[in-house]
């Protein structure tokens, strides 16, 4: 691995891990929402390393675009998200550190035990054919999950509209 590749890898890893840490730890939630952006970009960078340009584009559009905007909008519509005097952790904070550390410990033990099975060389893929093959698979072998996903998106959209509307305001608009 050349020095440039190593530098890119270290930067990408540091960006992803540090921004994930900032998302869960900063007190100002607007800042936490903006820290999602380098996190999603870092994950997208790893998709690029794994030669998945299509997933990188999806990651940019859906996560760094849509999800982050929705999160920031919801943050701006509620209150106490930028007040530095308001506590942003509940009384389970210490227990949360213990729980996630022990979860990580268990996973590390499993990974360490399976290290022999994990040391494999990556197979060759035709990077240009991946997107074409993905489209073919989604409309042949995986057409049922694909259609179910579209039904899920439609019902989620209707549900979100139904939940977020304000019945009182609509009533007043009808009357006056």
């Amino acid at each position: 691995m050349s020095a440039l590749q190593l530098a890119i890898l270290v930067l990408l890893t540091a960006m992803t891990v540090i921004s994930a840490l900032m998302v869960v730890s900063v007190r100002n939630l607007i800042h936490a929402g903006f820290w999602l952006l380098p996190f999603f970009l870092g994950i997208g960078g790893f998709y690029l390393i794994l030669s998945l340009e299509f997933l990188f584009a999806l990651q940019l559009l859906l996560y760094a675009g849509a999800v982050m905007v929705v999160v920031l909008f919801a943050l701006m519509l509620t209150r106490d998200v930028m007040n530095p005097r308001v506590r942003q952790t509940n009384r389970l904070a210490i227990a949360a550190i213990a729980a996630s550390a022990s979860m990580m410990g268990f996973l590390l033990i499993v990974i360490y035990r399976q290290m022999g099975a994990l040391t494999v060389v990556p197979g060759q893929v035709d990077a240009e054919a991946i997107t074409r093959e993905l489209g073919r698979m989604l409309l042949t072998d995986y057409v049922l999950p694909f259609e179910l996903t579209s039904a899920l998106l439609l019902s989620a959209m209707l549900g979100a509209i139904f939940l977020a509307r304000n019945p009182k305001v609509e009533l007043e608009e009808m009357e006056g």
Partner: protein
């Protein structure tokens, strides 16, 4: 491509660390929107794992990538519905802190 010298355990360890970070935020945050942001971190860690295992172990068929596509779609739907729920809770109770919304606690 730089993947030849990059072992699979690197990706597995990275997604383990990200999963633990997301789990911490999921438990410790008070604001419901911050909890949803932590869920996004956990989902992205899982996606990275799917893709890495696909790329190293079964690059001939694209099942792992199809899984990730479905996960991304479900995550988008989850965010939309989750934010709608959070906003209607805020309208009712004027708070989105999950420890203050305890009306259904027995």
């Amino acid at each position: 491509m730089m993947l030849e010298n990059l072992p699979l355990p690197f990706f597995v360890l990275l997604s383990t660390v990200l999963f633990a970070i997301g789990l911490y935020g999921l438990i410790s945050r008070r604001n419901a929107i911050a909890v949803l942001m932590s869920i996004e971190i956990v989902m992205n860690a899982a996606n990275l794992n799917f893709v890495a295992f696909w790329r190293y172990l079964h690059p001939e068929s694209l099942e792992g990538v199809v899984f990730v596509l479905v996960t991304i779609t479900v995550a988008a739907a989850e965010v939309a519905v989750g934010m709608a729920v959070v906003l209607s809770i805020y309208r009712l109770l004027h708070t989105v802190n999950v420890d203050e919304v305890a009306q259904m606690r027995g």
